[in-house]
Each structure stands twice: as C-alpha cells, then as structure tokens.
Subunit: 386 residues, 4 copies
C-alpha cells in the first residue's frame, strides 16, 4: 500500500485453505507488503479465478510455481518475497526453486517433511543474504517476545522444567473418512508426512519452547498413538524431553482432545521464577517469582521488557489475536528485508523470527520422535542442525 511495499508472491493457500487467508490478512495488517503474484492452484482455471478474486493482475496469476519464479524474475517489478503455503510435502520443491531465484521466503511449517530436504535447503541458502523465515507464528505474539526477553535477562534463573502442550479436538472422530478435504490432506502421510500431529502442531510446540527458553532439545522419549481407528498417522503424542544443560521437559500433542479448540500452552520454570503463557489468552503472561505473589503481565503494560507490537495496532487492554501475531512476524521479516536492501545491519529486535535452521530443527525433532516411538520410547538424540 505504501510506496515502500514489498512485492509478495503466494504459492498455495488458495480456496479451501484457511492458512492462505491468514497470511494475506497478516500481510495486509502489517502494511508493508503488496500481493503482486500468485500460484494458488495446480488447476489452471481455478488458479486464475482465485487470483482474480484476490486482486492479482491477470498476467500474474500462475498455475505453476516454476513458471511463476521464472516470469517474475524477468520482470522489473517482479516479486521480492514469496509465501509458501502449499501442502507440507511440496514445501521443499517450492522453497528450492525460490532460493535459487533469489527471492526472500516465508515458508509455512513444517519446513519440509524429510530432514534431508531441510538440510539441502540450508546447503542451498548458505552464503545468501536472502531472508528465509518459517511461519512458526506463535512466536509472533508480543507476550511470547516478552517471555523470551525475561528469560534471556535472567528473570527465571537457571531453567529447570519446560511443560508444553498443544491440544486440539477437531480430529477426535474419523473426519477424514467423511469427505472433509482438510482432514483428508492432514492425515495423508504422502502429502503431509508420517509424523501426523507431531509435524502439524507439535512442531509449533517444539519451536515455541525453544524460542522462549533459549534451550535446545538434546533427546526425546516418545509414545505416539493413532487413537482413531484406521488413521494412518499419529493423532496423539506423549513426549519426554532432555534439554541442553539439566533442564527437563514434557510435551503433550493431541488432535483428539474434546474441549480443546486450539490450546497451545507453555510453562517454563527456573530456580527463581516461572512463566506461563496460553494461546487462548495471548495478551497475558503469568509471572511467578518464588516467594512472591504471582503477577499478570499484560501486553504493553507496566514492566514490559520486550519491544511492543506494531504501534499502529491496539493499546494495552485491547486484545490482540492470531492474525496480529502473524502480522508481527511479517513485520519483522519486512524489517529484515529492508536491512538487506539497504546493506545495513538489522535491528536485533527484528531478528526474533524462526529461520531456516529453526525450521530444520523442528523437522529433526519430528524425526527423532518417530524414531523413539518405533523404539518403544527409547531415548533418541536429535540429529544436529549445524
């Protein structure tokens, strides 16, 4: 909208996708992008139709992402960044193409469905100055930044325990066998990988815990279950985690938990204090110093350490939600891109965005979880991402 808008392309995220709408809303809310090109379906007619519907010029609504990469590269006003919103199994090919095209990338999670692919993307991107972000977008919440800033600043002391859970209910029945397209895709190991709920939402929980605590996971012991008869991928995961240092953690991931629409909760305990955050109440953070009353830290309220949200949004007490968190991520990516364009160092506050390496670690985590579960819960090391 502004003349400094970054020209953004979309691959995937059409019609029946919910995340497509979220990315477009986030880009709009952020205010620093113009959606200039899109490849929204592999069916040419649908791709054109949907592109037109969201205001893409006719010649920039593509039905092939390789063609889109080539054509856009040839234009003086070609896209500068691309959002990859396809089914998980295609992330790798699309990302590869746009890394080679020198375009900045915002890739939906999980980065890839195979760890080797994630490693290959890292290899391809080595030495490039292009920004590659992975949309583990729960890290975009202002209160999540606040939690990370407090822990980094030592407010919790040495971290001992990390409890994280991500519970949903929407797959509690065999929805994929009732003609529900999204459920079919999500539970199809070919399209989305064998890790099921671990990749779909566990990767968020994993990323969030590491993002906030600053600690990496060394090894896991996991029990995966497919509770719904006939389901080809796990819909529930119980995982114990050993973090770097002496910290220990536990993770529960479920898509078969009645009562939970979308409950991602993180609790971090140090030897001095603890922090609790819940995605359902994202404007608040509970901070409990040992021997003192618990405090409710409100977004933008007294005692905030972290850089606030976009000042063009709502003040403290006016709730921010999911799209705002996404928009914060888009904003920080835009700031990184601007720094690259202007050949200057980026404001460190804008670097708190999950990157290619973070995305690869979440894939390594899913791999280790699958492996541990096959080994009857034996402790399994995460393959290192260098």
């Amino acid at each position: 909208m502004s003349r400094n808008s970054i020209r953004l392309g979309l691959v995937g995220g059409g019609d029946s996708s919910f995340i497509g709408g979220v990315h477009r809303a986030a880009a709009a809310l952020c205010g620093r992008y113009t959606i200039a090109a899109a490849c929204l379906s592999s069916d040419p007619a649908r791709a054109r139709q949907f592109a037109a519907r969201i205001g893409i010029a006719p010649d920039r609504g593509y039905d092939s992402f390789t063609q889109m990469a080539a054509s856009e590269r040839a234009r003086p006003d070609g896209i500068e960044a691309v959002a990859i919103l396809t089914p998980n199994g295609l992330h790798y090919e699309v990302a590869k193409t746009f890394i080679r095209a020198g375009v900045h990338i915002i890739c939906e999670k999980p980065l890839t469905t195979r760890l080797a692919d994630a490693r290959h993307l890292i290899e391809l991107a080595r030495g490039s100055d292009r920004v590659i972000a992975v949309a583990h977008a729960y890290t975009g919440y202002s209160t999540v930044h606040e939690a990370r800033a407090r822990i980094k600043g030592g407010a919790l002391g040495a971290i001992r325990i990390i409890q994280v859970e991500y519970a949903q209910s929407w797959l509690a029945t065999a929805l994929e066998r009732s003609g529900h397209a999204i459920a079919q895709r999500r539970t199809d190991p070919e399209l989305n990988g064998a890790a099921g709920c671990v990749a779909a939402i566990g990767s968020h929980a994993f990323n969030l815990a590491s993002f906030v605590s600053g600690l990496s996971v060394r090894e896991v012991s996991a029990e995966l279950t497919a509770f719904v008869p006939g389901r080809a991928v796990p819909d529930n995961a119980h995982i114990m985690l050993r973090y770097a240092g002496d910290a220990r953690g536990m993770m529960w991931i479920s898509q078969v938990a009645p009562g939970h629409e979308n409950d991602l909760r993180l609790r971090v305990y140090g030897d001095k204090a603890s922090l609790f955050w819940s995605q359902r109440d994202p404007d608040n953070l509970i901070f409990s110093v040992q021997g003192e009353p618990s405090q409710r830290l409100v977004r933008g309220g007294p005692a905030s350490l972290a850089e606030g949200p976009n000042p063009m949004r709502a003040p403290s007490g006016h709730p921010e939600g999911f799209v705002e968190a996404f928009a914060n991520l888009y904003r920080d990516v835009a700031r990184q891109i601007a720094a690259v364009a202007e050949h200057r160092a980026c404001d460190p506050a804008a670097l708190w965005v999950p990157n290619l390496r973070d995305g690869a670690q979440a894939v390594a985590f899913a791999d280790a979880v699958l492996e541990s579960s096959k080994r009857n819960g034996g402790w399994t090391q995460l393959s290192p991402i260098e």
Copy 2:
C-alpha cells in the same frame, strides 16, 4: 487491494492518535478498501508528511477537510467513503461536510458532542442512500453478534436485567497535568465535551447493551464524579437505567479504576437464561440456561447462530482481537456500500452496524446522564431520536 476496493479518505487520526492506526489496520485487514486521500493534520507540513508516510499520493494529502471534500468530489477517482477520526468536537462539522458531498461515512464515536448537532446530521441525511456508520466497534466482535442473535431468537426469554460496565485505569492520576497529550485532549471539555468518561467509553457501554439486548433506555439516574482533583470532566459514573418494558439495568463507567486496562463487560439476564461477554476474553460467551450447567460458547464453535467472522481470518480457537472487531465493522459497511452501488437490498446480516440514529442515541444518553447528575440523580428521560 482488490479491484473492487472502496476508495477511502481519512480525516484526522494522524500521528499521535491511536485510533487512526486501528482504522487503517481494520481497513487493511478487511481487504475491501484502498486509502486514497487523507487530511491528517491542520498543520500543512505535518499533514503532508504523515500522508506520505502512509502511502497517500502527494496531491491527495490535504490540510483542510473542506478542501479535501471539494477536490475529491471533482476527481473521477474521488473517495467514495470517509473515516472521521478527529477530536470529538469536530465530528459534527466534518460529518456535515461529507454528508453534503454524498460520501459514505464511518464516524468515530461519540457522533457529536451536542445532541442538537446529532439531530441536525440526521436531518441532513434524511432521504439519502449513503451509508453512515458510527464506530461503536465493540459491536463488531463475532461473539457480540452471537449474543444479539441468541437474544433476538428468544434464548433468554423476556429480558429482566442488564449489567454493563466499562472500567479503565489510565486516568487514575492527573495525567493531563503531566504533559500527556492524549490525556489533555480527552479531559478538555472544549475539545471533547462535558461528559468526560460518559462520552469517551460510556457511549460504548450504552450502545453495546442496546445492540445486544435490542432494548432502548427510557430513563436514567446518574451520579457523576471527578475523582482526580482539578479534573474538569467526570472520570467515574454510576448509572441506573430503566429500559423499555420492565427491564432494569446498571452501568458503571470509570477511568480511574486501577487494575483495569480496558474492561468492557456485559451481562444480560432474561427469565430463561443469561449471557455474559467480556472484551478481555472476546472469543468466548458464557450462556447459562436456568436449571442447566453454564456453557462456554466459543466463536465459530458448535451451536453458533450468528454469521461468522470473515472466513479469511482465523478459525475457532485462534483468538480474534480488537482490530478484527473493527475489521468486521468495516466489512459490513463495505457490504452495505456495495448494495447501494448495485441498487439491491443489503444482506440483513450486514446491517448489524451502529448507524446515525444509534450514534445520536448515545449522545442523548450522555446528555440525560449529565442532566440527571445535575439533578442529584433524579430520573431523567432520554430525549427521543426519531
């Protein structure tokens, strides 16, 4: 962004305004508007500078709203709608100008600071097909629509009691005497009227209660207080209300209540059931049928009656916030404008937006409250808005 975008102008809402940013974000999130012109300051240099910063073409960044109305009218691509975001005392003049210019209007609340002015706007607009909305935007929350739909459908039975409150803390000290610009403006009776907190936030509470319950207030008994020494307008209001029929209500409005960042809460009790909504937890509605367990109704969840939010936004369980509520209002205004443009009846679901008459009633309410307080709490009828 889309080719069907409504060309929107802004009057006010520049630099130091928080609400300006919210309107721009809402318009962007809604996705149906392009901000095409603006008059963001009466200081020509600042007006141009700020207009440029938000991407307005140089020739459409005005420093006079009358000039803006005239120039835009003369253009083939002139603005179709305007958002009025000035200090309250100017709403009347600006609205008058743009009603005369035949432009659709979204006006910040309170509509005017004087009831006679509000009546005059109604007079001026009589017979016109232009859309005039007043940004009592809490009504934009999907859960608020759900509450209204349930009550309209009879789920509560006959309404008996309405308890509404709007508490903030930010004026608990004499902020206006410490150089805080917004506090100065908000507590200045010349700029914002004599009703202080009643106009600033009480008008929201009043509107919300009427919007949800479908009932209008007949008379009020009020006690206004300025707790902060030297403050020229009330910062706290205690009000009893008699609604049409036999319903009775109570309202508490405060800007001096430590612990409340921005707490707007509504409870409606009928002879069959009750509903509770809180702005701090806006994705949930508590519904309690007499003799049954209380239910938590989640936005977009099972049993939803109301039309959902914009499908391009987050699904149930992914919180929506303040900007989304505003964007819902912008969306519905866009749908009304489209119906006008296409000479067809508007989808009734898009008509649940506070209009000129609703805005005038909130002004009449503030008037009656001031009058009752002067009369030591004597019951005072609201001047009817026909």
Copy 3:
C-alpha cells in the same frame, strides 16, 4: 470436645434449614464449642426428634426458647452461648430473651426485620460484657481479613469507588408457588420482612463492603423490583451509594440471575491500588497497584498481612470454603468469650467480627433502600446507629 469447650445452645436451624447444618459444622470445625442444648422446632415431637438426632441429651431438647433460656440458666452446666437460627422475623424476640439471660449470642443475619427492634437490642445490651455477633459470615474468610488489613494499612490510598454485587439464580422462577418450603419462607414478608433480597443477601454485601473498606454508607438511591410475577418482596435491587468522605459505590443484588449460584463479589478502588475478591474463588485476592502488574494474593501466601486461618486447617493452596469462613467467625467469637471469662482484653485480631451495631446498620441500610425505592430512587440517608 476439648475441656475448654464453650457450651452452645441452638435456637432454630432444624430439619429443613441449611444454615443450621452450617453453624453446627462451623462449631465442630472450630473445635471450641460443645452443642449442649437446642430448641429446633416449635413442634414438640419434631424438636425432640431432631435434637436427639444431633446428639442432644433428652432433657435439653426444648420446644420453647423461653423455656430453654430459663432451664439452662438454672443448670450449673447451662449454655454459655446461643446461636439464633430462626426465621428472620423471630430473631428479635429470641435475642431479647437471651440478652436478658446473660448468654453470649451468635445471631443469623439480618439481625432483625425492623430497625426499632435492632435499636432496642442495642439498648438492652448496653453495659453488658456479653459477646453478640451477627453471622455476616463472609467476613470470616481469611482473604477478606487480608483485604481489610491492606486497606487499613493504606495500601489502596484514599478509597474512591466500591463495587459490590451479590447475585443468585435460585428464585428466577416462582419457586415459592411450587411447594418449595424455603422459597415460601424467604419470600413471605410476614416471616422475613418486606426487604426480600435486600435483607436476605444485600445485608451481606452491605456488611462486607463496610467491613473491608472501613467506610460507612451515608445515603442510598435504590430501585427495587420483583421480577417474578406475584412475588411479594423484591428479588432484584439496583443501588447507588454515597459513603463517608467522597467514596461512591454501586450495589447489585439479585436472586433472579441465571448462571449465578451464589456470587458475592467486592471490588474496592483507591487512588493508589485496587482489591478484588470473589466468594467463588475465596482463597485468592487480586491486588492491583496503579502502574504495576496485578498480583494474585493467595491465602496464607507470600506478603500476607492478616492473621491467618486456624492453623489446624489446610495450608496455602488447599482451598478453604464457606464452612471454614463460618468456623473462623466461631473461633473469633470463642476468643472474645474467653477474654470476657478471663477478665482480660481481647486480642484485637479476634475483634474483626460483625457485632450488634454492625447488624443494626445492615437493618438501617435495608430500611433506607426500601424508603428510597418508594421515593422513586430519591437519595435517602441511613438512620444513624449510635
């Protein structure tokens, strides 16, 4: 049970009474009383039967309270204290009898149904050293003591606003016409006075607000309603209050509010901080200093100012409930009685129990509320209790 047990008599509170069981449980839990005599019904057979059932010796199960007062007085092991648990309309006669008998008294609220009667009891008791407590037992919660201690200590600064409400749902339908004995009694103006919900539960809200804030009410403006057709007493009250000094308050009392089993909530706002307490979560107190994060003060937790609960009960984090609050009141009355018996000053901490004067003030409040409502909400002074 212990050899220092106070011998307690009961008048009323038999069979169908819930409050009778609560008093017996509280006395037992407190551990300082032995129930030695009782007059539990005016029907001799039922009185004997019920007395036997709760372990009263046959010769001390009376069917007349006057006979009980006389007989017990004549015994060397006669009762030292009496709990008055009859329908409200009888409190006066029973209290008069036992004041004359020189027995300590714990009287259920409201103290009397007529203010003149309350004044007469004060007159009768003047000069006596007997303890007379009124069971506004919500004041017995440890967290309520903590709130009072904090306010007394200046933590809130000058009190500005007091918001109190007491909402129930059990009378939302015409229960009294369906053969429900307690509902019949409670809505019978002959038995329980004309003030309906104001006496039944409003007296608690009034007492609690005064107890915690340390402020007395000067005048009220009230709107009473009987929402259930045919009901002879008000079942809903909206009240504005002017406290001593400049504090202002609001009270909502209802017995027709679906969703509320028994919700008594108090919020007190000063110029420095606020406190929030809810009977449904009685182990916690929310304390919000202006400009700082809100704190949750847990019973017995860090930063407690008030004397804790009975150390023979559960530690911090193990919830205390209604019976414990009652037992705290019984404990403090026992400590007062012990001080009288031992001719020594009582520990000031044991004096935080509503007394005859407090009980009379609650009656004066109900009177003023009825009067104001008759006068269409005109501000009405509380008759002073000297």
Copy 4:
C-alpha cells in the same frame, strides 16, 4: 458428638504436623467420630501435653502406639478406629499393630514405603471385616465423585488419554538445609522412602487418575530429577503411562515449580467427551462433549449424577474445600463401619474410598517409577496387587 459416634484414636499428627490438624478437623466436621485416645509423640512429656491440649483424657494420651493398642483393647470403651498419621516410614508397623488389634484404620498415604510391607498388610487383613482406608483424600471431593460417576456411566465413551499433574513450589529452594523441620523429614529417604515427590504427591495423582477413570496402570516410563543441589530424593518426575486397554497417560509431579502452591489437575479424554478437574477450583468440573459447547458442572448443581456432599454442609455455590473433602472420606468410612457393626451390606455410594489395595497399588506405582528411572526410562510394569 452424637451418641453413635465412632471412638477414634490418633497415632501421630501432633504438634508440628499439618495433616494431624486436618484429620481432626475432618472428623469434627463429619460429626460421626469422637477422638478418644491418642499417641501424638514418642516423647512422653510432649505426647501427654499435646493430648491434653486437644481434649484427650489423661489416661488415654499414650506415648507408645503398641501400649495404646493394648490398653484400648482392654477397655470396654476402647477405640473402634485409628488414624495413622506418623511419618511414612512408620505406617507399616502401626498398621500391622492395629490390624492385629481388630481396629478399623484410616491410614495416611503412602500406605507404606516398601511394597513388600504393603503386601504383608494385605495378607494380614485377608478375611477380616475391618475397614481399612488410605487417605488419598482428593478423592473425597464431591466433584471427583461426579467425574467418576459420569465416566462409569459412559459419558466420555472409551477413555483414550489421561493427563494428570501435581505441582508445588515449596521445595524449590534447599529448604531442608535451612532448619525447616517438615522439609527435612519429607526429603529424608530414611523416614519417607526414596521416592521423594513421587510418594509424597505423585501417589495422590496416581490414585486420583485411577479412581476417576476406573483404569489401572500397566506400565510406566519415568524420568526422575532432583533439581535442588544436594537433595537426596527426586523433587520432579516426568512419567508416561500405559493404562489397561489402549489408554495412554502422562503425569508431571513437581515440588520445585514456582507459582504452584498446590496444583493437582486431572484431565480425562474419551472418544465422546472430556472432563477437567482442578484442586484449586474444586467446586467445578469442566465437561466437554465433542461437538458441543463446554459445560461447567457445579457441585450439587443441575445434572449432578453423584451422591452429593454431606447435606449438613453448604449448598451449591458456597465453596467446599480441602477439609470438606477429607470429611467426606471420614463420613464414608463411618458409613462402612456402621454397616460392619450392623452386619449389613454397605450402601455402594459409601464404598468410593481408597482401600488397602488402592494404597498398595500407589506404592507399586512409586516402585515402578523408581525402577524405570534407574533404567533410563525403560517401560516398567507395575507389580500386580492381587
């Protein structure tokens, strides 16, 4: 108090014990016991002094539990039941003595510190009609009974997932090395066994989950940690559980979690619905049927299935707490004892009390957890209790 009172003896629970006070309060509140004898210390002077303080006759304040068992047996009015409240390491010897004496028993948890001892107690009690209850008293909450009744009745369908946690903060620092007597005892493996937090509070979590779900644990995979340097027993446990059938569970036990005074929480998910209970809000149960809004089930409220609490206590909406839960357990034990005395079958509702076998299973659980942790989290079967 009543003439049908059960004569109760106490072993342990003197002076510095908090649980002693809770048992006495529960017995008093229940109203069916008279504390007739006690052995409250192994120090004769302290034993006598403390016994006198709680009203025990001088000749029945013992300083040896074996002497107490013998003397009481010889009296016509000897104790009928005994509460065993000593340090955990002594439970076995005391229980053995009183089983042999034919006295009913309420034993604090954990039943024993060694599984062999628990088995021996089962052996000794075989064929006896004496009641032996283990005070896993969280099962006494009315809402916990409601949860069990609903699951037993099929409301959740087939159970899939059980998430239970018990977190405290009080041992987050090295309290045992600062002269804190209770902390010293609790962290002393000689006195309280090697299982630390697993025995102290994990046994409650284990018992509660089994009690409510009706499922038994087959095997566990555990990670025990002593986070406080120098601590001789684990203060944190992460445990995965495999239940009978296909249910899977997770348990977190911690005494080093700042912000948690005493947080026991249970969530059970079936293929139809889920239930959530938290000890900090024990009057409410959240019940979520897949595809319907979540419901809050209030104790004694609409739709209650389970037998309510003692009718002599507070009605719905008046919170019950920890002592009430204990008193419910005491009440049900009294009902069982009465059935034995009267040679009749016991009301099935009174049998929902953890018994000797349940106590032994909790010991077997702690054993398996210790064993699994030593084996680096290898899945370890629970030794069966037949």
